[in-house]
């Protein structure tokens, strides 16, 4: 048995994936199947689940509900669709703004002297050593009514004798957007930096030599060659933004409910795991669909730079 294994390279390869396979089956496939089963069930007493097969949870998510004014049997509410749409828009906005912020920085680092590059990348990554939640709390300290920004503005207003009313920045969609952009920025910088850094200096020189101004060199050479990084960064940012609930919880309060918050609510306060499971699966499907069409349009980029 062992002797045969020693000779069989492909069997060795198969054996190497076994630990991961077991882990993935136990921690991903089975829970997913359970979620699917639960999502067809009904809310039971005390947060339990009554196992049936009904699509009620999905119908409810689309907006049809039996919880209506007296005399009406079914009615429609756009509440959940609004939450889905809000999450999609936030995911889109965060990703686009992260690209716009990350690209110049990544470009700057990639073109910096090699001696400085590692230090600069290190600085980009340092905030990630702090806990995710603590970083969101830091933004609360900055944005809240008696926070850093308002204190500074108030102090300045006092200096010039202008009446000052603290700005209401926290618990707004803008605060959530800022928090999301900040939390996921390094995930955009890293892959863009990696693909920019791979571009050989002689390509820039060749473009200039052939008559391209720096701007046209950027459009025709730098940008296309960095697309793999932008695509990777987009996936790394968009997917988690769609599912995170901490940022909107802490910076959005009850004002900004995202899919993540909806799911969290169903499992915790509403004690309706069946509906929560259905929302989770819809979120997953939504993310997969968006990513699929996105990568079909722009590719994973491996055909551009290998």
């Amino acid at each position: 048995m062992l002797k045969r294994l020693r000779e069989n390279k492909s069997a060795q390869g198969t054996l190497l994936i076994v630990p991961t396979l077991i882990f993935m089956i136990g921690m991903l496939i089975i829970p997913l199947l359970l979620t699917l089963v639960v999502s067809f069930g009904q809310r039971g007493a005390d947060g339990g689940v009554i196992y049936t097969f009904s699509l009620n949870n999905y119908i409810r998510l689309v907006g049809f509900t039996t919880d209506c004014p007296p005399g009406v049997k079914t009615c429609f509410t756009s509440l959940y669709m609004e939450i889905l749409w809000r999450s999609l828009v936030l995911g889109f906005n965060t990703t686009v703004l992260d690209i716009l912020l990350a690209f110049p920085l990544a470009y700057f680092i990639a073109r910096a002297h090699p001696r400085w590059r590692n230090t600069l990348m290190f600085l980009v990554l340092v905030p990630m050593w702090t806990n995710f939640v603590i970083r969101v709390y830091a933004w609360m300290m900055i944005l809240r009514e008696q926070g850093v920004i308002n204190s500074l503005l108030g102090w300045f207003a006092g200096l010039v004798h202008v009446p000052f009313k603290p700005l209401g920045m926290i618990y707004t969609p803008g605060a959530v957007l800022v928090g999301m952009i900040y939390e996921f920025l390094p995930f955009m910088i890293l892959p863009i930096y990696t693909s920019l850094e791979k571009i050989d200096n002689s390509l820039y020189e060749a473009a200039a030599d052939l008559g391209a101004s720096p701007f046209r060199t950027f459009l025709r050479v730098t940008l296309p060659l960095s697309m793999p990084g932008v695509v990777a960064g987009t996936i790394l940012v968009f997917v988690p933004v769609m599912g995170t609930f901490i940022v909107s919880d802490l910076l959005g309060g009850s004002q900004v409910i995202l899919i993540g918050n909806l799911i969290e609510n169903q499992f915790l306060s509403a004690r309706d795991p069946a509906f929560g499971s259905a929302v989770s699966l819809v979120l997953m499907a939504l993310t997969i669909i968006v990513t699929y069409f996105y990568t079909r349009k722009f590719g994973f980029g491996e055909e551009i730079v290998a």
Binding site: A206, A208, D209
Partner: protein, 369 residues
């Protein structure tokens, strides 16, 4: 129009080393490259040849001095405003573009029309024998083909001067030899001035009309291939180009273009041609190329005659390389095998005593640097 395609006047390029010292990569270089010429800059790595080329291209700007292209001072003009194009050692092809797009890139930047681009790219690819490859990506081509794409991409712009930075360095020997001849004939065909950078002296001799031999940022000698090989100006050039035997000596007398030198190891005087100015009493090197030494078995007295013993011989087909011991000094002699025979007595044997005739017209008296 200027007589010279390229002119460098007293050009200096200083770099700051990582230790913070100033280093002259190019040190007061003056050269004139004629229109339509195949000009090579030859030297070992770090001699300043690539930096000189990059200053012509505009990737670097001179610290002092001026680069002229067709008589126009270039100053701090960026590369995209200069009428020259470069073929890079690494080819620097755009991996995300097809062969066609790569070659068309320079024309698009000029704002050429679609039809014009199509026509000229087609011609250019035909010139480098890549017709039919236009839809491939660089990754799908061999090293030699990528080299040709790089060439076509630069030539399609019809530059006044084509700059080539060791373009054949990454190719294997056989392909390199082929491409050398091809490049040379291509240059004749298009009539563009080529400025070629190489560390390979064989390559420079094969292809160039004129060669500049460089070392430590300076041009040591500039001239025709035959001048560089037959009349090197000093010991370094003679050593760098081809093979030579060197004997240290002291100048005894100078008469017109010849000098008599006392060679201490042989306790004998040798006469040779002088290529640059030497004075009586100077420490010099007497140099003679291995193929220019005549061997004979009879002991007839001659002007520059010495006696030696064959220590080693290597038969390499066209020649036999002999290594002789001449009174404690090892001397290389290349003997052409002019007779076709299997009779080993026709060849020099180890231990055989021979007389070497270093004819004064074949012997050079060179300054040491």
């Amino acid at each position: 129009m200027s007589e010279f395609a390229i002119e460098l006047r007293d050009v200096v390029k200083n770099f700051i080393t990582p230790e913070g010292n100033e280093l002259a990569a190019v040190n007061h270089v003056t050269m004139q490259i004629k229109n339509g010429e195949f000009f090579s800059m030859l030297g070992s790595s770090g001699c300043g040849k690539t930096t000189t080329l990059r200053m012509i291209a505009g990737f670097e700007w001179p610290t002092e001095g001026e680069v002229y292209i067709e008589g126009d001072a270039q100053g701090h003009k960026p590369p995209f405003l200069r009428p020259v194009n470069t073929v890079f050692q690494s080819y620097a092809l755009f991996q995300h573009m097809t062969v066609f797009q790569n070659v068309a890139f320079g024309l698009e930047m000029e704002g050429a029309s679609k039809d014009d681009i199509k026509k000229r790219v087609g011609e250019s690819l035909e010139m480098v024998q890549l017709t039919g490859m236009d839809r491939r990506y660089p990754k799908q081509l061999s090293g030699g083909q990528q080299q040709r794409v790089a060439l076509a991409r630069s030539l399609v712009k019809r530059p006044k001067v084509l700059l080539l930075d060791e373009p054949l360095g990454a190719l294997d020997l056989k392909l390199r030899k082929e491409m050398q001849l091809e490049l040379k004939s291509l240059q004749k065909e298009v009539g563009i001035t080529f400025v070629y950078v190489t560390h390979d002296q064989g390559e420079a001799l094969t292809m160039s009309d004129r060669i500049a031999v460089m070392s430590h940022g300076k041009v040591l000698q500039m001239g025709l291939a035959v001048e560089i090989y037959e009349r090197p100006v000093n010991r370094f050039v003679a050593d760098f180009i081809g093979e030579s035997n060197f004997m240290d000596g002291k100048v005894k007398s100078v008469k017109k273009d010849q000098a008599v030198v006392y060679v201490a190891v042989w306790e004998q005087e040798l006469t040779g041609v002088i290529t640059s100015k030497v004075n009586v009493g100077d420490e010099v090197a007497v140099s003679i190329r291995p193929e220019k030494i005549r061997l004979s078995e009879q002991a007839e007295p001659q002007v520059n005659g010495v006696e030696g013993v064959v220590v080693d011989s290597v038969y390499i087909g066209s020649d036999t390389h002999l290594y002789l011991d001449v009174r404690g000094k090892r001397i290389k002699v290349w003997e052409q095998n002019r007779v076709s025979t299997l009779d080993l007595r026709a060849y020099y044997q180890n231990g055989q005593k021979v007389r070497l005739n270093l004819m004064p017209e074949n012997t050079l008296v060179l300054p040491k640097d």
